[in-house]
């Protein structure tokens, strides 16, 4: 890099630091801004950040290395990432990706010689109801078709700035097809906090307790209990964190909630702050949803003007609370609350040791409530309308309703809200999932249901779910799904613990071996054993659930693997023997019979 651009980068980074702040917690946010400006994080930026933030260079580089959206080397002027969820694939994303790379004369993951463009794959971008989708310089482009890809190819070649691309490319639909207690009556939703102030924190918490609301992220911890523990934990400061890092493949309902009901979510966070005594809150927004940032920032500033955030909220002396938005940068593991907190603190998103739990020692070591977007929204409505209202539907252990993200082979993909206890078959009827051979509930980490299980119910008692509901039609090959998931987890494992770090890579290789028709029954047993170890011995939920899909295919859809096994083999080599001689053949120029190895 020439010296002048060194100075430019320095100036830019210095400006960033002045504008946003010098706290080490902001490291990731600064890196995201630098990445956006230069398509990578130049070494000189690392130097400046290191000296100003007081963070070591290696920690900054480690951060760049950890997050999929940060790069130590330049990407193209147009950084194109195809969403690679199984639903994107089912909608034809692979052919579109090939069309674009061919059109642009570029290879996957390799920046074109002129620096114009890089095309890569990325984990599910949360546009499953309107895929195939991509991110271009971090902004979502949906509903890709061959025609749209052709146009994108032209725009890239012509160097047209993104702001001059057709606006319709960036349209993100909400697709709410079924509204229940939470989503209906939108006009009656008050953005205000009067009811909370009338009740007071103690009674508001009482309403929440009466509602028996459980966390909507999937784990289902009782929300009121979480808030109470946090309130009662010693600390000079407390924090509210809204987890909008919905990285679970197939979920997109938080995106819709934030697009449609941001006030309710912020209101939920604010009353949480009022109850636990927090003065600062964070919305951790996954990087894939950066297109929503301007509007969310606008809603926050409007709430400040309305006296719903900031000092003396609603004129209540001492009720001070504000919300800051932090972006993620492409790391599924950050959906786990303690990894999310690490990321909020500007670090690699590695899951913390528990105990202590975040409610006792979270952000900056202070008591912290981390809840899902949907949980805060539900809490806002509960305080407004009462715990008994909320309990009016659902099941014994699962009060209220659940918002589902429905995608895949269905006539009407989108958002569906159901009372807990609704059978899977009902959802399939409503969304037009005719003849489904399988439903993947709760994402890649969830459970693969066979038709015989479609009478099972969505609830904490039976099928706990983060909301992802992916339908695989009668003509799908489940091998495609399991390959997609195996690749996903190998890519998203944070690498901290042995079983997840190594196990996921071993599993991915074995799944690929099966797919290539090179495996034996021995390999299937290996997959089962590795999966068992990961489930039992991994450090966090990512590792303990990452092999679920393999187990479910082995148990419920065994033919998916069985029919691909090499006939008559009870053991096959771990690698392709003949291919392993290719380099030697090339070097020696030999191609005689002895220069090859037959499959045994």
């Amino acid at each position: 890099m020439p010296l002048s651009s060194h100075d430019t980068v320095k100036r830019m980074v210095t400006g960033l630091l002045t504008a946003r702040g010098h706290e080490p917690d902001l490291l990731l946010q600064h890196l995201i801004a630098i990445q956006l400006a230069y398509s990578y994080v130049p070494e000189i930026a690392v130097e400046v950040l290191s000296s100003v933030l007081g963070v070591t260079r290696s920690r900054i580089r480690a951060c760049v290395d950890f997050y999929a959206f940060l790069h130590a080397r330049p990407r193209g002027d147009y950084d194109v990432l195809f969403s690679d969820n199984i639903t994107d694939r089912m909608a034809g994303s692979e052919a579109l990706r090939q069309q674009l790379t061919k059109r642009l004369g570029v290879r996957l993951d390799q920046t074109r010689g002129d620096g114009r463009v890089t095309v890569s794959l990325t984990s599910c971008t949360g546009m499953c109801d309107q895929g195939p989708a991509m991110l271009v310089n971090g902004l979502a482009v949906t509903a890709l078709t061959p025609k749209r890809i052709e146009r994108i190819g032209e725009l890239v070649e012509a160097g047209v700035p993104l702001e001059h691309w057709p606006a319709k490319f960036f349209v993100v639909e909400d697709h709410i097809h079924r509204a229940g207690d939470l989503l209906s009556n939108a006009e009656k939703m008050s953005a205000g906090l009067q009811r909370f102030l009338d009740l007071g924190p103690q009674a508001a918490l009482g309403e929440l307790e009466a509602s028996v609301l459980r966390g909507r992220g999937g784990a289902g911890f009782t929300t009121a209990l979480k808030w109470r523990i946090c309130r009662d934990s010693p600390g000079d400061e407390r924090f509210v964190v809204c987890n909008a890092d919905e990285g679970e493949p197939g979920t997109f309902k938080d995106r819709v909630l934030l697009a449609r009901y941001p006030d309710l979510v912020f209101k939920g966070m604010t009353l949480c702050a009022g109850i636990i005594g927090a003065r600062k809150g964070y919305l951790y927004l996954r990087g894939e949803y950066r297109h929503m940032l301007p509007r969310l920032e606008w809603v926050l500033s409007r709430r400040r003007e309305q006296g719903l955030l900031g000092w003396d909220i609603c004129g209540q002396p001492g009720f001070d609370f504000d919300i800051e938005i932090h972006l993620g940068a492409g790391a599924y593991v950050c959906g786990e609350e303690s990894a999310l907190i690490e990321s909020l603190e500007g670090k690699r998103g590695v899951v913390r040791k528990r105990p202590p739990y975040p409610v006792v020692s979270g952000f900056q070591g202070r008591p912290t409530v981390v809840n899902n977007v949907e949980t805060f929204l539900a809490a806002a409505r509960i305080v407004e309308w009462g715990g008994h209202w909320f309990r009016g539907e659902g099941t014994q252990q699962s009060a209220g309703s659940k918002i589902l993200s429905v995608s895949g082979d269905v006539a009407r993909p989108g958002i569906y809200e159901y009372p807990f206890g609704t059978p899977v078959s009902r959802v399939l009827e409503d969304c037009g999932g005719t003849g489904a051979q399988a439903v993947q509930v709760s994402g890649a980490a969830g459970v693969t249901l066979a038709p015989s299980e479609f009478s099972r119910t969505l609830s904490f008692e039976d099928l706990p779910t983060s909301g992802s509901f992916m339908v695989l039609g009668p003509d799908r090959d489940l091998m495609d799904m399991t390959r997609n998931f195996a690749r996903f987890f190998a890519h998203e494992s944070c690498g901290f613990c042995t079983p997840c770090r190594v196990g996921n890579r071993l599993l991915e290789a074995l799944v690929e071996k099966v797919a290539a028709g090179k495996a034996s029954a021995y390999d299937l047993e290996e997959m089962r054993q590795i999966g068992n170890l990961m489930r039992q011995a991994s450090y966090c939920g990512l590792g303990t659930t990452a092999a679920n899909h393999v187990r479910d295919i082995l148990d419920k859809f065994p033919d998916t693997f069985q029919r691909r096994l090499r006939p008559g083999s009870d053991f096959t080599p771990a690698f392709d023997l003949d291919a392993a001689l290719a380099a030697a053949r090339a070097i020696t120029g030999r191609n005689d019979a002895g220069a090859h190895l037959e499959e045994a």
Partner: protein, 181 residues
């Protein structure tokens, strides 16, 4: 000794140094007890070249070239029980250290650009087995029934292993006989 037919044993060294075979001989006079129980088929000890059906195959060395693959497969076909004997068979061992380098670099260093080379050029005679990209332990090519690590496993470890195996017992090495170096 019993009248039951003797156990038929074959041994071979693939990408190894024959150190495990030397260690085998370190069972010393116990070999007299052993030959009461076993007879050897193909092995450097007998110089029999053609492998016949065997009860037990002991394989030293990893898999570095096409010939290693063929020999290993033949052992797997003919031997009821196959044993990875020593570090190289178990995990590739010292020869696998070449895996740190591309094969082309290894061959160039050895035959073209290295020190003291006359008539530089990578040999391409069909008689010479082609090298695999990497050296692999034998369990990555065939199913292996038992593993006895060590570089080499000591004569005592080999003796413990064989006597327990031949007696149909579970293998249980004393602490000092289990080592990877």
């Amino acid at each position: 000794m019993s009248d039951s037919p003797k156990i038929r044993v074959a041994t071979t060294s693939l990408a190894g140094c024959f150190g495990c075979h030397m260690s085998f001989l370190d069972i010393d006079e116990r070999i007299l007890d052993l030959v009461d129980l076993v007879e050897f088929d193909r092995s450097p000890i007998t110089d029999i070249k053609q492998l016949g059906p065997c009860d037990l195959g002991l394989v030293e060395g990893g898999v570095a070239n096409a010939e290693n693959v063929e020999v290993l497969r033949e052992f797997r076909r003919q031997c009821k029980v196959l044993v990875a004997l020593g570090a190289c068979a178990v995990n590739g061992g010292i020869p696998a250290m070449r895996n740190a380098f591309p094969l082309a670099d290894c061959l160039t260093e050895s035959y073209v650009g290295g020190i003291g080379i006359h008539n530089p050029g990578v040999p391409n005679d069909p008689e010479i087995p082609l090298l695999l990209n990497k050296v692999h332990p034998i369990h990555e090519v065939v199913k292996v029934d038992y593993f006895l690590p060590g570089c080499p496993p000591s004569g005592d470890a080999i003796w413990t292993f064989l006597t327990e195996l031949l007696a149909g017992q579970a293998i249980s090495l004393p602490y000092t006989q289990l080592h990877y170096d």
